[in-house]
């Protein structure tokens, strides 16, 4: 049976002989790819062909890569399991009764099943790292501003980054080298990454490295996950790293702050879908309020509606201070906590996901429970920091991911440390 990793299969061949010559890539379906459907996993964009390439897609083909498909995803990136896709759930290749994680589940499943050598995902609150952890592959969420978002269909601009997924740390870093660096078409990119050699940093030399372990990100996790995590820490210590406990009290509020900010930004971003210029049309009868509402009600699934409603609510008169302003305070607090931690440690380690991959159909009924699975990944997006998820063995036959977080533009440090976990 097919894993349903791709929404559209493609055969877009790169030019020249760059570093990704002979490499096949799966591209998440919210990344614009000229002339082929870019659906965002939504009925809204079922018939939408992107009129131009995202900057990262140009960089892939310039590097010689072949794009073999547009990968399945939670609708507009809104989910942790890839089950909210209009095009059906993707299965986890490790255990086909289970979810691959999300929202970049198609990207991670394609890599884990060797349907593509490497893949691009996008990570707004964990959407690269979660599926990488659940499928037993490597995923990197770059520092905010390292990779251009030009051509990425926006969900929550202030939080998201495009990131690589690959079987090994070195291959993920190599793909990051190709896509990183400034882009005049995205004003939030920085000079960092212009002449990067992240792949060269994948040495696994952790002798003398200080690894901080935030107790808040370990305490709530499944015992079986914690066991694998502790084994990985033992292994790092055996290679000469020092581990110290640290406390990040602000992260207890990260999930709530993340969802308020992401939903608020989503309610504004998704206002563009009115069915006139592109997307599911509501027809031409009646007045525009009615036809826009028809287009949107037909085009969006339940999770998207939920987030648009809550985002609209959080920004509406009388509630803005209570939700949005407080969420921004929490975001500043989280940043401050991380900054202080990095005065004493080189990287921070935690389980990527506090749980093992759930069974298909198990998660959707209780949104709050699903959101809480993002407890360890969302703080990183709030703080604009880089993080990597690297496989740390299995529990009950299911993959466990270890997350390493670095200081701003500290991609070399996390790549190096992750290579040591991998060994």
């Amino acid at each position: 049976m097919s894993l349903n990793a791709f929404i559209t299969e493609t055969d877009i061949e790169g030019e020249g002989d760059g570093p990704l010559d002979d490499t096949t890539v799966a591209v998440k379906d919210n990344i614009s790819t000229e002339g082929v459907p870019t659906t965002c996993g939504s009925r809204m964009l079922e018939d939408y062909d992107a009129p131009y390439d995202a900057t990262v897609v140009e960089r892939l083909t310039d590097a010689g890569a072949t794009i073999v498909g547009k990968a399945n995803m939670d609708e507009f990136g809104m989910g942790t399991t890839t089950e909210t896709s209009y095009f059906g759930a993707t299965k986890n290749p490790v255990d086909e009764d289970r979810v691959p994680g999300g929202s970049s589940g198609g990207s991670a499943a394609a890599v884990a099943a060797s349907e593509a050598d490497v893949a691009l995902g996008s990570d707004t609150g964990g959407s690269v790292r979660c599926p990488a952890a659940f499928c037993g592959v490597v995923g990197i969420k770059p520092t905010y501003g390292l990779v251009s978002r030009y051509g990425l269909v926006a969900y929550a601009n202030s939080l998201e980054q495009i990131g690589p997924i690959a079987p090994t740390v070195e291959e993920a870093a190599e793909l990051l080298d190709v896509i990183a660096g400034p882009d005049p078409r995205d004003g939030t990119t920085r000079e960092a990454g212009a002449d990067s050699d992240y792949a060269g940093a994948a040495e696994g030399d952790v002798d003398g490295l200080t690894v901080g372990v935030p107790t808040e990100l370990v305490e709530g996790a499944d015992e079986r996950v914690v066991e694998r995590f502790e084994d990985a820490l033992d292994d790092l210590r055996a290679q000469g790293a020092e581990t110290v406990e640290v406390s990040l009290p602000s992260v207890e509020y990260a999930v709530a702050a993340y969802y308020v900010i992401a939903m608020s930004e989503a309610s504004s971003n998704l206002a563009r879908f009115d069915g006139v210029r592109y997307g599911n049309s509501g027809g031409f009868d009646g007045n525009w309020n009615e036809t826009f509402a028809k287009a949107r009600s037909e085009g969006f699934g339940d999770e998207v509606k939920r987030r648009v409603l809550l985002g609209t609510y959080a920004l509406s008169a009388g509630y803005h201070d209570k939700y949005y302003k407080q969420a921004q305070e929490a975001r500043s607090w989280v940043k401050q906590d991380f900054d202080e931690a990095f005065e004493d440690v080189d990287v921070l380690a935690s389980p990527t996901m506090p749980v093992l991959p759930p069974k298909l159909g198990e998660s959707l009924d209780d949104p709050v429970q699903m959101y809480l699975a993002d407890a360890n990944t969302t703080p990183v997006n709030l703080a604009n920091l880089p993080a990597i998820s690297v496989p740390a063995g299995e529990a009950d036959g299911l993959p466990v991911g270890l997350q390493l977080v670095g200081p701003k533009f500290g991609e070399e440090t996390i790549v190096n440390a992750a290579a040591a976990v991998e060994e």
Binding site: D47, Y48, D49, P51, Y52, P184, G187, T188, S250, E252, Y253, V255, A256, A257, Y259, V260, S267, A271, D274, V276, R277, Y278, G279, S281, G282, G283, F284, D285, G286, N287, W288, T291, F292, A293, K294, R296, S297, F300, K305, R306, V308, L309, L310, T312, Y313, A314, S316, K322, Y323, Q326, A327, E329, A330, S332, W333, K335, Q336, P367, V368, Y371
Partner: protein, 91 residues
């Protein structure tokens, strides 16, 4: 289940967001959004943080650059007329 939000508020917000909701959808969203908003209440405990973000505006000269042709820009529209997007009545 919770009184964080009621049906009338959900209908009002759906109206603002241009979403039509069936009655059973309204009921479901009242429960689910109520539970989510209850989770968000904890943000009230967050202390004020003294942060000064180092933000700068990134500008470029306002010069005409290459862009999509009219035909390319219209290619995904359900209907167009005289080289323009066709929309519903605004009155």
């Amino acid at each position: 289940m919770t009184d964080a939000v009621d049906a009338e508020e959900i209908r009002h917000v759906a109206d603002l967001a241009r979403l039509d909701l069936a009655d059973d959808e309204v009921e479901e969203f009242v429960d689910q959004c109520g539970a989510i908003l209850e989770h968000f209440e904890q943000l009230e405990e967050v202390p004020e943080v003294d942060a000064d973000p180092d933000l700068v505006n990134v500008m470029r000269p306002d010069e005409v650059e290459e862009s999509l042709s009219q035909a390319e820009a219209l290619a995904n529209a359900e209907e167009s007329e005289d080289g323009r997007f066709k929309g519903p009545n605004v009155s």
